[in-house]
């Protein structure tokens, strides 16, 4: 690959298609412009150092040619990390804030810490792995179509309002650091599935949600996604069988039309 002349002094190439960037004095727009230029000039991997609150990292990277790159983040990225993400891979060596993977279409986000509210909101494809916990309203209105089935795997648990209006996809909470105690799960849920390790009571879920035990097909999904999680966080030294062997709760929608009976027509039928 040709050497690319960048107009930034802090960019230095370490190997052919990878680059390291010191983001300490860059604002959001500047950093994302740089990433876009790098992607368009053929870089496949960028390591960002000293990230401090810059938002929408990865968002500017749509190209009709569907180029993809890997972005490694050291520091703390700002809100909407990977919003509308289109096939890229983002790894955060630390915590992430609100809106991780907002409306993302494909790709992968790995957070080696916790991530904030509305994680994976309206996500329609790709996967998010969070080592720690996630905040309120996570997986809200996640949806799936055809081959596109988004997945969120969380090492810890979530706060209230998980999976509201969920229309598709898979959410897995491993509860590695304590039981899931939050409530109001799945209001308006009409698709997709949530698996939570441990016991979930009726009082924690909305009436639109059916509580059951995972069957064999579920265990297969769990097995493959948990293995993927373990691969991403080897330092946790987890054993997939051991985790699968615990008690699991499956939450699924009672109906694909939760509000079907709410309305009446002004017209005679």
């Amino acid at each position: 690959m040709e050497e690319v002349q960048l107009e930034v002094s802090y960019g230095r190439t370490s190997n052919e298609s990878a680059i390291e960037i010191d983001a300490s004095h860059m604002d959001t727009r500047e950093l994302n412009s740089l990433l876009r230029d790098l992607m368009l000039s053929g870089y496949e991997r960028a390591v960002l150092r000293n990230v401090c609150g810059q938002r929408y990292i990865g968002t500017r990277l749509y190209s009709p040619q569907r180029r993809v790159m890997t972005i490694e983040i050291h520091g703390t990225p700002g809100n909407d990390l990977g919003a509308f993400l289109f096939g890229h891979r983002i790894v955060v060596h630390g915590n992430a804030q609100d809106g991780v993977g907002n409306t993302m279409a494909s790709g992968e986000i790995v957070v080696e810490g916790r991530s904030g509210d509305v994680t994976g909101m309206s996500m329609r494809g790709g996967r998010i792995f969070v080592k720690g916990d996630v905040g309120y309203r996570s997986a809200l209105h996640m949806k799936e179509h055809d081959q596109k089935r988004p997945v969120i795997v969380v090492g810890g648990t979530s706060q209230d309002f998980l999976g509201e209006y969920m229309a598709g996809g898979v959410v897995i909470l491993l509860g590695l650091y304590g039981a899931h105690t939050a409530s109001f799960i799945g209001s308006g849920m009409h698709g997709g599935v949530i698996y939570i390790r441990g016991e979930i009571g009726e009082e924690q879920v909305n009436s639109h949600v059916l509580i059951s035990r995972p069957d064999d097909a579920d265990t297969e999904i769990l097995g493959s996604q948990i293995s993927a999680f373990i691969e991403r966080f080897p330092d946790l030294s987890l054993d997939v069988d051991c985790i699968l062997d615990s008690e699991w709760t499956k939450l699924s929608p009672r109906s694909s039309r939760p509000y079907g009976k709410l309305y009446a027509s002004t017209a005679p039928d």
């Binding site: 500017r60 749509y62 809106g99 209105h141 509201e164 694909s256 709410l262 005679p268």
Partner: protein, 498 residues
Amino acid sequence: MRSLVLPEFTISRSEECDRCRACEHQCPFGAHTYDVSKDKMISDSYRCAGCQRCAVFCPKGAIEIRPAPSFYRPNASWSRERIEDIKRQAESGGVLLTGCGSDKPFRIYWDHMLLNASQVTNPSIDPLREPMELRTFLGSKPDRLSLRSDTDTATDPFLMVETPVLFSAMSYGAISYNAFQALAIAASRSGTFFNTGEGGMPSEMKSQFKKHAIVQVASGRFGIDAEYLNCAAAVEIKIGQGAKPGIGGHLPGEKVSQHVAATRMIPEGTDAISPAPHHDIYSIEDLEMLISAIKEVTNYEKPVIVKVAAVHNISAIASGIVRAGADILAIDGVRGGTGAAPKVIRDNVGIPIELAISSVDRRLRDEGIRERCSIIAGGGIRCSADVVKAIALGADAVYIGTAALIAMGCTLCQRCHTGRCSWGICTQDPGLMRRLNVDDASRRLVNLLSAWSHEIKEMLGGMGINAIESLRGNRDQLRGIGLHEWELDVLGIKGAGE
């Protein structure tokens, strides 16, 4: 349960009827049937929606549909509508749904404003022999320009419309594929824009129509990915809609056909639920974040529109939206149309667009931020004079929805929510949808826009104005008639004769 509601319409059939059964075929509500034993057409007026499809298509002109003369004992407090709504709710236990904009007699301010014309002291302009400029640029305008002859001056992204009328958001799913296509074709032929609403854009239409599409991001985030957002001229964040401010929307599962599902990127047959708010927007700061995220994903190449319903504090809300970075503010008045809305919301929430335009324009001017954002006004624009009055009150352009549907054949029967539109507009039924011919419908839309454009030029010329730019916020061209002092104040216009 047997319905205790009286029929709304009376169907009468004259002697001319030769029992061709065309009406039976035309009526999607099953109001006409043929009785073989008696060789007679039978009508069930309970089923009639008053859509007039049968009347138009009866080859003998034998059918007449009229409001039913039957009545409940007149009572100023208990109108027929109040009585029947109660009966329907007692029968169903549900929130009453309806279609179309509110039919309530809120004051239509358009009809209480008169336009000016030049007489003697300054000449009117003859649009037949002099150029008249209707072209409008929608977007954020800079405070100042520094021009250099050797480079192009950079501006923020904008929309250029050849006439200040755009088609408002009507989603594929709410309207049929044919109607959606007709709007797209007409927009591209007329140099204006159509709006995908929140239903996404069918993938086969993306490349052909992307220059004329405004794509919407609503709370359900249907059909949205980076590609969809980039296959558009502008992106609209829908916060609210005039027909149902403050509430979400549910496209019922039966309208989510395979193709609608693919376009919305959801499973076939599930309800498409749009929550009331965007759950990542709980404040102006959060709105700023979504606007920025959209600008990021479209590489700052497309203007971002924020659409809100006209509500009580609309001017303060507008100020916040402009400060959050919207390039265009779309405001939808209380009479704005819908494919389905709870009747109680449609008829009781919001304010008329005329008052909203004026108060928003004034507020943004007072705060010195009017140029940062264009205003598109919608919800009750019925004719070219309404367009001219809206612009004189301070809008940059208007959205039309209902008027466009009427151009395609809609008769405002308010049955859109049933999915059985007899004109093939608001339906996913393949048989009904075929009734709408795409070429014919798009031609009607193009004709409407061209007729209105000519009329707008006539009105402008009469005022001695040769560019629509000079009309914007030019309230001096308006006078109120039959209005109270407070109404004149809010509109910022003088009374007729003053």
